[in-house]
């Protein structure tokens, strides 16, 4: 299971982005997850909660957008969405195709943040989990 190390990378990336925005508090992290990313969604959600503990992102939510695999079908000359990753064939004509257009994503795409009120500024480890 490598979802824990993926979760740590997500937290690192999100913290970096939050810091660039003046250390804003992160309420949610939006992630795009491809069906071919090799990452299991449930395991990642579970790991994320554990990995957030004790970090400024503690209490934040991981919102995952599933991305299906899109292939190029040479016969239809069009992009088609796979119905299952057990079979790389065009859902319209049945042609097998190895040409993956997308579906490997493991991407941070958005953060739900709020600026912190400087008058109530506390240490990074302490404000974690405080609702807005």
């Amino acid at each position: 299971m490598h979802e824990l190390s993926i979760a740590l990378s997500i937290i690192e990336g999100a913290s970096e982005e939050a810091l660039q925005r003046g250390g804003a508090q992160v309420h949610a992290v939006h992630l795009r997850l491809g069906a071919l990313s090799g990452v299991v969604k449930d395991a990642l959600l579970f790991s994320y909660e554990i990995a957030c503990a004790g970090t400024p992102l503690e209490g934040s939510q991981l919102v995952i957008e599933d991305v299906p695999v899109v292939v190029y079908c040479p016969k239809c000359a069009a992009e088609k969405t796979l119905e299952t990753i057990q079979r790389f064939c065009c859902p319209s004509c049945g042609e097998l195709t190895p040409d993956v257009i997308s579906g490997k994503q493991l991407e941070l795409i958005g953060l739900e943040i709020s600026e912190r009120d400087l008058s109530s500024e506390v240490g990074a480890g302490q404000f974690a989990g405080v609702a807005s």
């Binding site: 299971m1 490598h2 064939c89 190895p98 795409i109 958005g110 709020s114 600026e115």
Partner: protein
């Protein structure tokens, strides 16, 4: 106290550090003229045995070869591979279930890449996690042994899809386990249409020539592109 949450757009590849490092490794391999092949499979599919035979053969034919081998806990695999007399380094990953580009880079620190023609990287036996990590290799080879069943590719489509070549190993046991070769080949093609496939037995040597020929072909192609 904080203001109302707002959604800001970001765009960041979660594995960007690994991917950047893998890219820089690939450039280093190319500059040094070394061809890099990685092996992935479930535990016990025969990576180490195949590698032992491959290293021995390539060395006897005058190739400068070396291997990095990932394992959770032991150095047994490195000891087995060392019998080929090729330079071998064990990467003990501890609790980590896969190799990443950083582990590969650190393990290569003491080696001069331009002294090598071919570098083999044996990943930790695992059909899930290694699929997410680019190691900078030129060719990724996935092994499935006949004792694992014909449907392995359908159970782990991501790793089969991420690989370039599939090897069906332990063919000497195929009859004993009533292995349906045609079905296995169909399943591989379903998850990676057009994938190159070789049936082999490292024990009897069947398919080894074909594997080495394919390796040479990919080496030539990589060199031609470089």
């Amino acid at each position: 106290m904080s203001t109302q949450p707002r959604l800001v757009e970001v765009r960041q590849n979660v594995l960007k550090q690994n991917d950047l490092l893998a890219r820089s490794l690939r450039s280093r391999f190319e500059a040094a003229g070394v061809f890099v092949l990685s092996l992935v499979s479930s535990p016990g599919a025969g990576k180490t045995t195949l590698l032992e035979k491959t290293l021995t053969r390539l060395r006897s034919e005058g190739n400068r070869v070396a291997a990095l081998v990932g394992d959770l806990a032991t150095e047994n695999d490195a000891a087995r591979l060392a019998r080929s007399e090729a330079p071998v380094k064990q990467i003990i990953t501890g609790t980590v279930c896969h190799l990443d580009a950083d582990m590969v880079e650190r393990s290569l620190a003491e080696w001069n890449l331009s002294d090598l023609d071919c570098l083999f990287i044996e990943n930790v036996g695992n059909l899930v996690c290694p699929s997410s990590y680019d190691l900078g290799e030129n060719l990724r080879v996935v092994l499935m042994s006949v004792t694992e069943g014909e449907d392995k590719p359908l159970k782990y489509p991501t790793i089969f899809n991420s690989a370039d070549v599939a090897l069906i190993t332990k063919m000497d046991l195929a009859e004993a386990v009533e292995f349906d070769l045609a079905e296995a080949r169909r399943n591989i093609q379903a998850v990676r249409p057009g994938m190159e496939m070789i049936e082999l037995s490292a024990k009897t040597g069947v398919g080894l020539d074909e594997f080495l020929k394919l390796l040479q072909l990919h080496r030539d192609n990589t060199a031609a592109i470089a």
